[in-house]
């Protein structure tokens, strides 16, 4: 296999030989159209542009970046809720992107998702119990009604909710409780792999910590593998084994969590880490925010060469025209920067 396309395999113990999920040269372009009758494609938005990484069994990989970097689209492609323009997503070596919707059904049981917004991702007309039982019914996992009720009660219990919550509607619940319902629903089909898309971002810090701990406990108990998509680097650092940093559809850096935070190689990662405030006035008083400059360019018209060059503190002439290759700089530590 081409080494460039399978960077993650070398990184983590346990995933060396057979990654559970492998994203290979994934591209997702959205056409920007004009005209009502004669639709013309004016431009392509390269939401995800040649992204490759893999996730080992039991591993939690973080996908981080600012808005518009393509992290959510990457997640949707892995879930097959979006079809990739090019490239493929492999699950246990099977190319999911080549399967039909019907063929995907058994895989959908094994791959689940937790969304950011616990308000819009639960059907307001269904009771909590029905919401959690729905995937079980769809996949015909439990036929007996009493067993199903027991399973729902069990799931509520695992997620820290009282069993009587099954009779309530989502609007009667707080944000944290709704997120727990979302997690219970994701667990209902005994999945192996869960994509958490900003799963704790909408929650208050006191509740956020509860949900983070719950996700950790579940990972342990059910041997889950997570793809944790978030813009919050502190949370990602806490939860993930390995991290992929994206910017404007491209991968900027990938490394084990400690390596990424202790010695970030890519200037974007450095800028990103330098912009995160720390709740300590003494630490903050000494910080220098002057390196953090410029706005995120529009993905409709991204900069040529390295997409980060307009904001990069160490950009050289070649960065304006040449796209840097994503290369392994230290074993297990990858970056797309010619100046590292």
């Amino acid at each position: 296999m081409n080494r460039k396309y399978a960077p993650a395999a070398a990184a983590t113990t346990g995933s060396r030989e057979d990654p559970l999920v492998e994203v290979r040269e994934l591209k997702k372009y959205f056409p920007l159209t004009k005209g009502l009758v004669f639709r013309r494609t004016m431009a392509l938005i390269k939401a995800v542009d040649a992204v490759s990484f893999s996730i080992g069994k039991g591993e939690t990989v973080g996908l981080v970046g600012e808005s518009g970097c393509g992290k959510t689209t990457t997640g949707l492609c892995i879930l097959n809720l979006e079809r990739p323009t090019e490239g493929a997503v492999f699950y246990e070596g099977v190319n999911l992107s080549a399967l039909s919707q019907h063929q995907l059904i058994p895989w959908r049981r094994r791959i689940q998702v937790i969304f950011q917004d616990p308000y819009s991702s639960l059907n307001p007309r269904m009771k909590v119990g029905e919401i959690i039982a729905d995937p079980i019914r769809v996949h015909r996992l439990i036929a007996d009604a009493r067993q199903l009720r027991e399973r729902v009660a069990d799931l509520l219990n695992v997620c820290g909710l009282p069993v009587k919550m099954a009779e309530r509607y989502p609007h009667e619940l707080s944000g944290g409780q709704r997120q727990r319902v979302g997690i219970a629903r994701a667990l209902s089909t005994h999945p192996e792999f869960i994509v958490c898309d900003e799963a704790v971002s909408a929650l208050d810090v006191s509740i956020q910590a509860q949900i983070i701990n719950l996700l950790e406990d579940l990972r342990e108990e059910f041997h889950l593998t997570y793809l944790f998509i978030s813009h919050d680097l502190s949370v990602v650092r806490h939860l993930c084994h390995r991290i992929v940093v994206m910017y404007l559809g491209k991968m900027m850096e990938m490394a084990e969590t400690d390596a990424l935070f202790n010695s970030p190689l890519h200037p974007y990662t450095q800028v990103l880490l330098a912009s995160i405030p720390v709740p300590d006035p003494e630490v903050e008083a000494k910080r220098d925010y002057s390196r953090v400059q410029g706005e995120i360019p529009s993905p409709i018209n991204p900069p040529g060469g390295c997409v980060f060059h307009p904001r990069c503190p160490i950009a050289v002439k070649s960065c304006y025209s040449q796209v840097p290759s994503f290369r392994e700089i230290i074993p297990g530590h990858w970056a797309a920067c010619s100046e590292v």
């Binding site: 910590a209 509860q210 502190s234 400690d258 405030p277 709740p279 300590d280 630490v283």
Partner: protein
């Protein structure tokens, strides 16, 4: 009262704002008192629903009636009680002497008017400038908040600007009449982290340059550590702890503050094994008892806590805590460090 000094620019005393709902009276703000001195930055920190935004709207006279009303207290701005003013009088002060920066600049800017028109209008109304003078001043203001090609941007509409750019416009508008006080409600919550850093630095820089006092309302403890001179921690409509940033972050004296600080993963700390969340959920503001509002979630609680709400106690050096057990909280913090 010992909380207030005579020389303060801005004094809120025992402010109570209530909303009337079918399920009962929501005491969104329930007796908060604080002061802001000239040029000072004061933070109000709390989680959703704690009443921090309502406290800001109360100052601006923007509480919708009859759904809600200010049930008591006083808000003195340079000696004048804002609650005694007519709508017309307060409208004249709003924008001129105190201005507001909201969280979501897309909804607080008018989408059908150009940026230039919106800044110009403020200047013409409050300062009586001519159209040309106002336009020129608007261009200067945009340059000052770091917008390149200010002249061109003035002709654009809010949707043509990025989120960070819109927030810069909001800051320019807030500063346009050189107010004495700016109230910023979650000014960077909707922004990406690299943009947030720039906007916060800009606000710090400009408030120092113009000697404007700033009340910054946020849920993010990290955001205010660098910028706030003093921090007020709010929970369920009340302040539970007040002090300088150093006092609050390094020696919290209220279990809620301690809980907030412990529940966030921090980049400057080693990757800890486990977060310590605050158990339970915030209370229903329509059903508050006599006791401490934090008591059901508190790990320091004693029998007294459920019976009487602890008053704000002066611990010294301008540090206040509304907790019967503040000495135990302090001891825990010391033991840990």
């Amino acid at each position: 009262m010992e909380l207030t000094k005579l020389s303060s620019l801005f004094e809120v005393e025992d402010l109570r704002t209530q909303f009337f709902t079918p399920t009962g009276i929501v005491k969104a703000v329930d007796g908060i008192s604080y002061t802001v001195d000239e040029g000072e930055t004061v933070a109000i920190v709390g989680e959703s629903g704690c009443g921090k935004s309502v406290s800001a709207l109360s100052i601006l006279g923007l509480i919708p009636e009859p759904a809600g009303k200010i049930a008591g207290g006083s808000i003195r701005f340079m000696g004048t009680d804002l609650l005694k003013l007519s709508d017309e009088e307060i409208r004249r002060m709003r924008g001129r002497q105190f201005a507001m920066i909201f969280q979501e600049p897309m909804t607080s800017l008018n989408p059908v008017l150009t940026i230039g028109r919106q800044i110009r209008e403020t200047l013409q109304t409050h300062l009586g400038l001519s159209r040309e003078q106002a336009m020129q001043r608007a261009e200067e203001l945009l340059g000052m908040v770091g917008i390149a090609d200010a002249g061109g941007r003035l002709k654009q509409y809010p949707h043509q600007l990025s989120g960070g750019m819109r927030q810069r416009v909001m800051i320019a508008m807030a500063l346009s009449c050189e107010p004495e006080l700016i109230i910023a409600d979650e000014p960077t919550t909707a922004l990406d982290v690299t943009i947030q850093a720039q906007i916060l630095e800009l606000m710090k820089d400009l408030t120092h340059r113009f000697d404007v006092a700033l009340i910054i309302i946020t849920h993010n403890l990290g955001v205010v550590a660098r910028y706030a001179d003093r921090v007020n921690v709010m929970y369920a409509g009340k302040f539970v702890e007040m002090g300088t940033a150093l006092q609050i972050y390094h020696g919290p004296k209220h279990p809620y503050t301690l809980g907030l600080l412990r529940s966030v993963p921090r980049l400057d700390h080693p990757r800890s094994e486990r977060l310590i969340p605050i158990v339970g959920q915030p209370p229903d503001l329509t059903r508050l008892g006599n006791g401490c509002t934090y008591e059901p979630r508190c790990s320091f609680r004693v029998s007294r806590c459920a019976a009487e709400f602890p008053p704000m106690q002066n611990i010294g050096d301008g540090h206040f805590s509304a907790c019967w057990q503040y000495k135990e909280v302090d001891q825990t913090t010391r033991d840990r460090s």
